[in-house]
């Protein structure tokens, strides 16, 4: 008993020496992009993927100190169990309980997205977190304050050293790491995916729902990402002060247009639409049945009866990815 233990310790010591001498070689890819998905759209040659960057990004993502009141993290409103959307509130609450104006978007498959937020105002993932960090209703920090909050926390030193070979904090190092963590949030293992890969079978009800989906939804919710990334009006005529995409382009034709969200994990991300106006999928489908086609001429007629609605919802439920919502690497680090 004594010998093997010593022997084991010896090996450990040896390995330890070796690790000191040779640079660590990463055996698995930091982010596995599914082979049957289109090529990713995220581009930043300055930000090569590594486990160390993702680990730093994950720590930053879940750090409530990165808000003025030290109680709101990215993860506060982007919850893994809800597909990284909020905890089923129509609008989210930031510092001092201040209420936002739109429904928190789910963070799913962002590597294939090139315009962010409901109005598409943000044009690159690396600058996306600047909006919630600096918004006075969300996290309420200036960028220099954000840097200070990271610098003052010594538990970050090791993470920065591992990712960047320096403990120096700057905007790029924070935001590039956050991008890497968000890029790693890939959902590709729902029942739908397994059926597509011939590893599972739809029920008859799901099969019928899939056919209805093909008829009515697929133009905007294109497979396999379940979004076309375009902006659509969805028959919206009344929307208070929120003019949607108009805010970004200042072009009247873009009034009431919003970005098509992904339908992946849609069962978990209720309520729906940009302001969370519909509580469940039945309400959404009913709204599509009656949407004003005079302002959205491209919208299919739907005309779904109750049993068709249930079939379509059965299919939408196959887009829930239980691997995604339970994956340890995506959760709050402890």
């Amino acid at each position: 008993m004594k010998f093997p233990r010593l022997f084991g310790a010896g090996i450990l010591v040896l390995l330890n020496f070796q690790a000191c001498q040779e640079p660590e070689i990463e055996t698995r890819k930091p982010i596995e992009f599914p082979a049957d998905f289109p090529p990713i759209t995220y581009q930043n040659p300055e930000n090569p993927f590594s486990q160390a960057h993702i680990a730093l990004g994950r720590k930053l993502f879940y750090d409530p100190n990165l808000s003025l009141t030290r109680n709101i993290s990215c993860g506060s409103c982007h919850a893994q169990v809800h597909g990284f959307a909020d905890h089923n509130t129509p609008q989210s609450f930031g510092i001092y309980g201040r209420k936002g104006v739109r429904n928190t978007p789910a963070l799913i498959n962002l590597a294939w997205m090139s315009q962010f937020m409901w109005d598409g105002g943000i044009r690159h993932l690396d600058v996306m977190p600047i909006a919630p960090f600096t918004d006075s209703t969300e996290m309420g920090l200036s960028l220099p304050q954000l840097l200070t909050r990271v610098e003052e926390n010594t538990t970050y030193l090791d993470y920065f050293q591992k990712a960047y070979g320096t403990t120096q904090v700057d905007e790029k190092r924070i935001l590039f790491a956050l991008s890497q963590f968000m890029l790693s949030l890939i959902s590709d293992n729902s029942k739908y995916d397994r059926v597509r890969r011939h590893q599972d079978k739809f029920t008859l009800q799901e099969e019928r729902g899939y056919a209805l989906f093909q008829e009515n939804c697929v133009n905007c919710h294109q497979e396999p990402l379940f979004t076309s990334g375009t902006f659509q009006r969805n028959g919206i005529t009344k929307n208070g002060a929120d003019l949607g995409r108009f805010r970004i382009t200042q072009l009247p034709k873009d009034s009431f247009y919003f970005k098509v969200p992904t339908l992946r994990n849609i069962a978990l991300t209720y309520p729906y639409f940009h302001d969370g106006r519909f509580r469940n999928l039945e309400e959404v489908l009913e709204a599509y049945n009656h949407a004003d086609r005079s302002v959205s001429s491209g919208l299919p007629l739907f005309n779904l009866d109750n049993s068709q609605k249930q079939e379509l919802i059965s299919f939408l439920n196959t887009l829930t990815d239980y691997t995604f919502i339970s994956k340890h690497q995506f959760s709050e680090p402890r």
Binding site: H124, V127, A131, K172, F176
Partner: protein, 254 residues
Amino acid sequence: MKKHTQKFILIALFTALVFGFSSCKDDTPVDNTPKTGEVNLEFSHVWGIDMAPFYLDQTYIHPMSKDTLKINLLKYYISNVVLHKNDGSSYKVPESYYLIDPNSNKVRIMGVPAGDYTKVDFLIGVDSLANFSGLQGGALNPSNGMFWSWSTGYIFVRVEGTSPQSSTGMFMYHLGGYEAPYIASHTKSLPFGNDILSVNPDASPTLHFNVNAAKFWHGPVKLGDLNVIHNIGEASTNMSKNFADGVVLDHIHP
């Protein structure tokens, strides 16, 4: 002229001789790096048609609108600097993005190929590519307060201050936009006329510009009608154009 030519031939021969000998001794590579020099850009801020000196936090009366106002913040981007020679060739200063304000109004550009230049081009604002290609550093670092977080893009020109004519007592113009029809960046192309910008390793010439801060209210724009711009659009585009019109080359220090 003849004298110069003779001198030149003599120097050339002598140089050839020296280099010839040295190449016999060892294989020290000849320094073929083209000669370069530096060029400075200096922006002086002025007020009104008589080009009175302009200072932050000083009260002025606008010559057209007659509004009383005080500017306490004025910042803008100068980018994409190109220096032109008479022979049609030009030098594009790489990564030229500069954030100018009255307290930080000088830019030093190193590594400009030696020669005589006759014109400068630059953009007041930031080119569209830099606007949406992600997170930038240096002058373009979003921490500089010249970045719209909610609608990716730079604030090209930012001016803020106070005025009793404004309904809120304040004014704040954040001007930007890099996509048609609301483009708020403006190219300046300023020929030097009879002057020449002579760049060589032993000189540090300066292009001296005047920037007229009264131009924001050209038209005249009244503070009682317009005290906030914080998005792209017609107002942003028009005001940035007026401001750009007020940027002129004053003189060149050799």
